[in-house]
């Protein structure tokens, strides 16, 4: 009898454990939100004071993967949004590293959020081609948002002339940061061409005692992070003379590989570049051993300088203009999209009570870009906002909330009243604006959707082997041409150019 009771108790405990596990999993998926959340409500007015023509939804689900840390008053922000709009906001913060995977998985299981963001490069094209995002063209034009954005932006993010998302910020661009104090010690000027750039790296390597890495970089594939070596070459599909081509099969790519190979062999580029993560590169920069680091402009310029100076107060950093042979590159636009699985009516509801709120240029935009008054920002008697200290790091002020106010795309009514950037941020943004180019949207290709994983790894492998001297440039490129052919790159190009 005693045994029986013990058995029953054990079984119950195990069964409860199982149920608990099940509930935990279920809870996560529920948080993902669903189209069904957007059921009709009471039709109150939205926060932007316009008379709505669509019924108010009960709730809107929204995923973020960057912006505020959870501890930095996110709950308060959500409450402020709900108070402003009168809609239950099901806001889920997702790990940035896993965002793409989790979003795909959510779509697979039908638990995707109503609102999410996508890179306007290949992800948006892919989602649009599969019906994963709603066509917002008519809603954007009717709302007035269209007219408050530079037409070049719509052109850059449109797919076959249709708009599938609204950008919250101009994209980040990468620029090259150099240790100005080292240049001063060497009596050198900021390099303006390739020869001067290489001379500078050699001088860092040979004449600066604490220099362990003249130039640090995470991997070799990104032309955006190595513009001084790539020049106008690209390792991806690129638009040349009115048609799409494989950047790695262009003549200028071989020259870029040769430059990278030579610099690596000379010890000018971080020997561990291929195993570097971006955080490893930042650590090398902060520890004062690296002389050159190409990284995001804007607020990152400030962070790279502040953190370096914390360790080496005498250190000075300068973001240099692009050298003559090349240009800086912006990353792709990040756009807010609405779940394409929703009905037209539900899409209109989400647009009305989310998009029109955060892009109203007034209090909705202030909440989105500057956060909650008294927590994320303070406002003076004239209505000018300044960012407040962070809860998680009181020594530093917030620099953005869900978007950075000075990088907004949809114009504010009184932009001067929003928080303003620091001087170094303005400088780096100006440097980028002077020479950076926007990324063009990649057209739809069914074949590319299927081979992207293999093609990316083949490209990375080829470039790494060439740069590190495992194979010669010619040998490496021949191997790549053969692999590209095997994978069907010709078919991809045919589809991109409308001949597939």
């Amino acid at each position: 009898m005693k045994k029986s009771i013990i058995c029953i108790l054990l079984a119950v405990v195990l069964a409860l454990s199982l149920v608990a596990c099940g509930e935990k999993t279920g809870g996560n998926t529920t948080n993902g939100g669903a189209g069904n959340n957007t059921s009709a409500g009471n039709g109150e007015t939205a926060g932007n004071n316009e008379t709505p023509t669509v019924e108010k939804p009960d709730s809107i689900s929204w995923w973020t993967h960057s912006g505020l840390n959870e501890e930095d008053y996110v709950q308060e922000w959500d409450a402020a949004f709900e108070e402003l709009v009168g809609v239950d906001l099901k806001h889920t913060q997702v790990s940035n590293n896993e965002y793409a995977t989790l979003l795909d998985t959510a779509f697979t299981s039908g638990t995707e959020p109503n609102v999410f963001d996508l890179s306007s490069e290949q992800r948006l094209t892919y989602f649009a081609s599969q019906g994963g995002v709603a066509d917002l063209t008519d809603l954007v034009k009717a709302s007035g948002i269209y007219d408050r954005v530079d037409p070049a932006v719509w052109e850059a993010i449109a797919i076959d002339g249709r708009i599938y998302g609204v950008p919250t910020e101009i994209p980040s661009g990468a620029e090259t940061y150099v240790r100005q104090d080292w240049l001063d010690r060497l009596n050198m000027d900021v390099p303006t061409n390739y020869d001067e750039f290489i001379t500078m790296l050699r001088a860092f390597r040979d004449d600066i005692e604490e220099c362990t890495v003249p130039l640090t970089v995470p991997g070799f594939k990104s032309a955006m992070n190595l513009p001084e070596f790539y020049w106008d070459a690209e390792s991806d599909f690129t638009y040349v003379d009115g048609k799409w081509v494989d950047g790695m099969q262009q003549p200028n790519f071989k020259d870029a590989m040769q430059r990278l190979h030579d610099a690596y062999a000379e010890g000018l580029i971080d020997m561990e570049a291929v195993t570097n993560t971006t955080s490893a590169c930042r650590d090398k920069w902060y520890s004062g051993g690296a002389g050159v680091f190409n990284y995001w402009g804007g607020k990152w310029g400030d962070t790279l300088t502040t953190n370096l100076k914390a360790n080496f107060p005498e250190a000075e950093v300068t973001g240099i203009p692009a050298i003559d042979e090349t240009y800086y590159r912006y990353s792709a636009f990040n756009v807010y999209c609405i779940d394409g699985m929703l009905s037209d009516e539900e899409v209109a509801q989400v647009f009305e009570y989310f998009f029109k709120v955060i892009f109203d240029g007034k209090e909705g935009s202030a909440l989105y870009y500057a956060g909650v008054e008294g927590l994320h920002h303070n406002t003076d008697e004239n209505g000018y906002m300044t960012f407040a200290p962070m809860k998680t790091n009181p020594d530093n002020n917030f620099q953005s909330v869900w978007g950075t106010p000075w990088m907004n795309v949809v114009a504010f009514e009184e932009p001067e009243k929003f928080p303003q950037p620091s001087e170094i941020v303005t400088t780096t943004l100006d440097t980028l604006a002077a020479s950076a180019t926007f990324k063009t949207n990649t057209p739809v290709s069914e074949t590319l959707n299927k081979i992207t994983a293999d093609l990316t790894s083949v490209r990375e492998e080829t470039i790494a082997k060439i740069v590190m001297g495992d194979i010669s440039v010619d040998e490496g490129m021949e191997q790549y041409y053969a692999k590209a052919k095997e994978l069907g790159v010709d078919q991809v190009l045919a589809e991109m150019n409308g001949q597939g």
Binding site: K3, S4, C7, I8, L10, A11, L14, A15, S17, L18, G22, A100, T101, D104, T105, F107, T108, F127, Q130, G131, G132, T212, V213, G219, K221, M271, E272, V274, T275, G340, M341, N449, K450, T452, A453, D454, S457, V458, E460, E461, I463, A464, K465, M468, D470, K483, E486, L487
Partner: protein, 320 residues
């Protein structure tokens, strides 16, 4: 004579001994009801997380993306795409090489270490050694990769610093195709050797002490006793572990994924990382499921072959 019924050796007549199998199912279920009740949660976990998801195998025969609301049957198209890909076959080759060596190293090092620990007579020292060597098992692969990336760094890693004392040029171990697999095997052993000894330590406690004493009296040296008494005694355990490892031979993922980089893909890309790239990174669920199914089928075939070989050589296997 009916199956399950035996003649009683003590009687000349047809006296039947009933076995449990003769009893009605209901009676047997009732008899072992408490055991079945205890097993129920385990059964449910297996059913929900292992068996029901197997229905997803069908995706391997379909064109399926995150946005597919219906399965579009494409027959063997995904398998054709896979088998045409030289990258897939490279991954198969790497998987077999890396895992085969892993199994051999695992068996030999764990058995050897277990035998060494078994020889330690000071109880507290033996327990301390056991505890210390178990620790790496509990460190996640991500942390292990970070530790070894630092130790093996060509710029300021400890290993290269020591090699430098002997005039050896820095070696970029984790980005060199010739060194990468060797490093993986070493790191994998560092992490797994302690935990792997547990099962052998348990087996060693069952070695007949009488046989060891007899061998000692017969003049066998310590090494001869291990070779001719201890190892044969634990060989059934070694066999079971070998066959179970064989079932997992194609599953290697974590250590490869965290130590892999683009410079060594040629020697490091395995089926599991290939499946991950297609399935998780690229959301091509059809092709990745096909690759996963291929992996599972090969694993089953390997286990069946190993079991048959075991039956032939030793007269027993672990499967029916």
């Amino acid at each position: 004579m009916a199956l399950g019924k035996k003649k009683s050796p003590s009687s000349g007549g047809e006296k039947i001994i009933r076995t449990n199998a003769d009893k009605p199912l209901g009676v047997r279920l009732y008899k072992y009801r408490w055991l079945y009740l205890m097993y129920l949660p385990v059964f449910l976990v297996l059913l929900v997380f292992d068996y029901i998801p197997m229905v997803g195998i069908i995706i391997g025969f379909c064109d399926f993306t995150p946005f597919s609301r219906k399965l579009k049957w494409v027959g063997l198209e995904n398998f054709r795409t896979l088998f045409k890909s030289s990258i897939f076959w490279r991954a198969v080759k790497n998987t077999l090489i890396i895992s085969s060596v892993n199994i051999i190293l695992s068996l030999t090092t764990c058995v050897a270490l277990a035998l060494l620990i078994d020889e330690i007579r000071v109880k507290w020292f033996r327990k301390t050694v056991q505890s210390v060597i178990y620790i790496p098992h509990f460190i996640s692969w991500v942390v292990v990769a970070s530790i070894f990336t630092m130790l093996l760094s060509p710029q300021n890693g400890l290993v290269n610093a020591i090699l430098g004392m002997f005039g050896v040029e820095p070696i970029y171990f984790l980005a060199n195709s010739k060194w990468w697999r060797i490093m993986l095997w070493i790191i994998d052993r560092w992490k797994g050797i302690g935990w792997g000894t547990i099962v052998y330590m348990a087996a060693l406690t069952n070695v007949d002490q009488g046989m060891l004493e007899a061998a000692t009296i017969d003049g066998a040296s310590r090494f001869q006793r291990v070779l001719h008494v201890t190892i044969p005694c634990i060989s059934p355990t070694i066999l079971v572990v070998f066959i179970m490892d064989l079932a997992k031979i194609l599953n290697i993922f974590d250590p490869v994924w965290v130590l892999q980089n683009s410079a060594v893909l040629e020697t490091s890309d395995v089926i599991a990382t290939y499946v991950y790239r297609f399935g998780i990174t690229n959301a091509q669920y059809g092709i990745s499921t096909a690759a996963g199914l291929f992996k599972s089928v090969i694993s089953v075939v390997l286990v069946v072959i190993a079991n048959k070989m075991s039956k032939k050589i030793r007269g027993e296997g672990i499967l029916a």
